[in-house]
Symmetry: C2
Subunit: 206 residues, 2 copies
Amino acid sequence: MSARENIYMAGEPTDNIVVICSGWAARVMRLPDGRRQILSYLLPGDIISTESLFRDSLNYHVQSLTDVHYSRIRRTDVAEGLKRDWSLLSFIADMMCNEREEADELLADVGQRVADERIARLILRLIRRMSARGLATENAFSFPLRQQHIADTVGLTPVHVSRIISALRKQGILSVARGELQIVDLPRFLDVARIRPRERNAWPGL
Amino acid sequence: MSARENIYMAGEPTDNIVVICSGWAARVMRLPDGRRQILSYLLPGDIISTESLFRDSLNYHVQSLTDVHYSRIRRTDVAEGLKRDWSLLSFIADMMCNEREEADELLADVGQRVADERIARLILRLIRRMSARGLATENAFSFPLRQQHIADTVGLTPVHVSRIISALRKQGILSVARGELQIVDLPRFLDVARIRPRERNAWPGL
DNA sequence: CGGAAACTTGATCGAATTCAAATAAGGTGG
DNA sequence: CCACCTTATTTGAATTCGATCAAGTTTCCG
């Protein structure tokens, strides 16, 4: 599937569990007036979504951000496996907990933090997940998000996201170009994200 | 346990699953600089939390807002039950999905909506949950939240929350006093929350 | 009844939005 | 590969929503 398509549309039956094999996707909630909130990003290895195992339909959309390869597993097959295999259950449960922790962090960022902190921490969470999969090296990684995506994730306007990223670039902290993101000055970037030195061990991959 | 105590503190071992029998509690994330984000509210019947079944410790606190009665179940017992009883698993899974849906809604509100919408929708979600438990009648229900709690939930200052609630009160839309909340003019309240008439069926309890 | 906590209200400030226009980047068909 | 067209990004100026600061007032409890 190519970029900018709907992998899943809100309300559709969730007959299949979808696993992302390559590329990025996003869980997107649309408001009636056209505003949208990106709830989370789906990276290679993620499933769409843990919820779809237990719900007949979902109230958000899943859209590809890049070209995406994915595979389907019949939901009933997974349910059968769960009944038999305790380790599969704990695997799924662990995945659901990870998703929830990320969601809690994002909520705290959007609710309590100012614009540059929100953006910096979103990037750090993405790096953490990418490097857990071996997809990030030397503080650099593939970054297909448009500024509009960032804006819709952290509750800002694209204009303001542009101002902040430009500022970080001018200060020699960050470089984003041609789908690649690189943290040029990690200590100062962590300052922007308000992550103190002693908290760094909670951020594997930095 | 009385109001304003810690039922659980971040990092503690989650040896027990805690079920709220009466009263309100909140999942609270504290930022290093003192700011805090309320992640969700726990009402009678809720467990603290579905995550604690699968994690050895949690990264947020759980605090009582009112006097709270709760009971403990040993985590290992629930884990044993899960292995044997498929219906218990689907019960827990359903609960986790509900929590996630609420979290997604809150994130969308905080990320995309203006102050009065955020507050109105928080109240509506609480009413929905209370009435699902038979704890709300005639658009009125017990409401122990301080304005500070509302502020820390939807990402506003208590001062601004006060202004908005005062305005709703003056317009004869809402009444909050002595731990009781009543929606005086439901249609106009739904307007504030930007819930259109055709969406009302998605809000049981109104 | 008295003291503390919660709420209200006014005045001012500031971060982020909005509106608008220019520039840059990306994709496509010839 | 280039010209063209569309989509993203940048930048500036004006505005606004919500924050902050400060001082009352009310409510809640012991």
